[in-house]
């Protein structure tokens, strides 16, 4: 057993920290939406450990709940992208022929519609909000998972154990479920970790643009937007969500890179 690489270590640490932040939202008793009009844009103090935002709301409470919301939205978005992308990718890679042609073209088309464009469409369809941004980010991740799953399925198709299964009379559904999917779990997990980082970024960007989590619900992107106009007065309300988000994304990126190095058979 090799010792874990620095990126795996730091990555898990940062991801763990972000999870703790989200969990702490259940324990921290302060209401993230309660304004304290006498202490607007206050610097850190014992009553408000991270200071307050332009409306006098407690920044720590908003940060914790924002982290929780980001994790929920990111988690669901990645699940949508993972399940759709992996299922379609395995089918395209294993069945080949016109299945592959049609699905690959569909992915190419979906690729031309990045998360932001899908979010605009979903927002027009069902109004801007958590659901539309989750679906948009999830759908925009489908092609990435599709590519990994398709390439893996194509490579595994010709291996002896798949041929043995076929010789024993296994159908395509059985082969895909019992032989291809478990063998591709490693690379797919790497992709999922990187996708989580991308989902956090995308969700925050959508919230920043007003297409994601709607006010007054706390979201890291929205917090930055609300603080931007008050930069000359106090940089704290912008710095807190920005730094937290950056560190969380860095964590998931490092975790993905570390996992990839660890699972890479060439090393």
């Amino acid at each position: 057993m090799r010792s874990p690489s620095p990126s795996l270590l730091v990555g898990s640490l940062l991801v763990g920290l972000f999870l703790l932040l989200a969990l702490a939202s259940l324990l921290y008793p302060v209401d993230p939406n309660a304004p304290d009009f006498l202490h607007r844009l206050a610097p850190p103090s014992p009553t408000h450990p991270l200071g307050t935002d332009p409306l006098g709301r407690d920044l720590l409470a908003r940060l914790l709940h924002g982290a929780k919301n980001a994790l929920l939205v990111g988690g669901i978005a990645v699940s949508v992208g993972f399940s759709l992308g992996v299922a379609l990718g395995l089918v395209a890679g294993y069945l080949g022929r016109y299945w592959d042609g049609a699905l690959s073209l569909l992915m190419e088309a979906l690729y031309a519609l990045p998360g932001l464009l899908l979010a605009l469409l979903f927002a027009a369809l069902m109004g801007p909000g958590v659901l539309s941004s989750m679906l948009a980010v999830g759908l925009s991740m489908v092609p990435a998972f599709f590519r990994v799953a398709r390439a893996g399925a194509m490579a595994l198709k010709a291996t002896p154990f798949v041929e043995a299964a076929l010789a024993l009379g296994a159908g395509p559904a059985w082969v895909i479920r019992r032989h291809l999917f478990p063998n591709l779990l490693g690379p797919l997990l790497v992709q999922a970790s990187l996708a989580f980082a991308a989902a956090l970024l995308a969700e925050a960007a959508l919230s920043y643009l007003g297409l994601g989590i709607q006010p007054p619900a706390p979201s890291l992107g929205r917090m930055l937007r609300e603080a931007q106009g008050f930069l000359p007065l106090s940089p704290y309300p912008a710095l807190v969500p920005g730094l937290a988000l950056s560190l969380a994304v860095l964590g998931f990126n490092l975790l993905g890179d570390g996992l990839r190095d660890r699972l890479d058979p060439r090393r």
Binding site: E108, A112, P114, A205, G242, N253
Partner: protein, 311 residues
């Protein structure tokens, strides 16, 4: 070469058709009544009917699709409800700024990433510092980067204007207003390009001809610039093709941070005003730009790599 060209262009067209049909299908699924959404609850029946006819909503879906497709093929994107002007005209006003930002951002990202990657490979100590810095930079959201630069170079140290755009008729002022937005986009894209360039260079540095060059006494810096950079830039071009979407989305976000009147603010206005023809046109044009960017990069790859023969 010609058959490759044809196949690649056909694929791009098929992609574009499918993507635009997805966009159309989306807006077909709109719940509720777009006419009511646009006119409000208290509209007169006559006004409702007029708008229904204007939007073509009185026809069955497949007929609307056929109408819409033929109109789009003639580059007629319909008329904006909010502005009462043709969508094409509105886009024409906004596209130059967004595209300018994309190109400045892309140019800046390459200008930063390539020399830094070379520097990283030349000096191992630089490599550690730069790789760490770029991994961090890659994790910073574009809008946060924009806000930080805004605070540092427009508010704290007022070197550049914080927002707005005077138009291209004043080139110097326009560049001054575009500097911070372009820098934001360039920095956010430089991180990934740096990693790709570094990986690609590392791969090339293991090749036999690099060993030969070193063995005959070529200085290391020259080996990097003369022998490694060119072959290493080819895989980089493939990565660049995938950058189209990120660049355009990034530009839209940056536009909002710096309050630039580009396609991003138009899209948000269109969404708020429930101006569906405008929104549809915007999404369609942005998707087309991404497909076009991807196509151009692929063709560039074919031109640059002498080994690729498209039989």
């Amino acid at each position: 070469m010609r058959s490759f060209l044809l196949r690649r262009v056909l694929l791009a067209l098929a992609t574009l058709w499918l993507a635009s049909s997805l966009v159309f299908a989306f807006l077909l699924l709109l719940p509720g009544d777009p006419v009511q959404a646009i006119l409000g609850l208290e509209a007169s029946p006559a006004a409702r009917q007029a708008l229904e006819r204007a939007l073509g909503l009185d026809k069955p879906p497949w007929e609307r699709y056929a109408d819409w497709l033929t109109r789009t093929l003639r580059l007629d994107l319909g008329e904006s409800i909010r502005y009462g002007k043709p969508v094409g005209e509105l886009l024409g006003e906004r596209i130059p700024l967004t595209l300018g930002l994309v190109f400045l951002g892309l140019g800046g990202a390459l200008f930063l990433a390539l020399p830094l990657a070379l520097l990283a490979l030349r000096f191992p100590l630089c490599d550690l510092a730069l790789s760490g810095l770029m991994a961090c930079l890659q994790s910073v959201p574009t809008f946060f980067l924009g806000v930080v630069l805004l605070y540092a170079l427009a508010v704290h140290l007022p070197l550049f204007p914080a927002s707005g755009f005077p138009g291209f008729s004043h080139p110097w002022e326009a560049l001054r207003h575009l500097f911070l937005p372009a820098l934001t986009l360039a920095l956010s894209r430089a991180a990934i390009l740096f990693r790709m360039a570094r990986g690609s260079l590392l791969e090339v540095m293991g090749q036999d001809y690099i060993r030969t060059a070193r063995a005959k006494g070529v200085p290391e810096t020259w080996v990097l610039i003369k022998h490694a950079l060119k072959p290493a830039s080819l895989p980089l071009i493939t990565v660049l093709g995938l950058e189209g979407g990120f660049l355009l989305t990034g530009a839209v976000v940056v536009e909002v941070v710096f309050a630039l009147p580009g396609m991003g603010s138009l899209a948000l206005t269109a969404l708020e005003a429930r101006d569906y023809p405008l929104l549809q046109g915007l999404v369609l044009v942005m998707a087309a730009l991404i497909v076009l960017f991807n196509l151009l990069v692929d063709l560039l790859y074919g031109l640059l790599d002498p080994r690729v023969t498209y039989a």
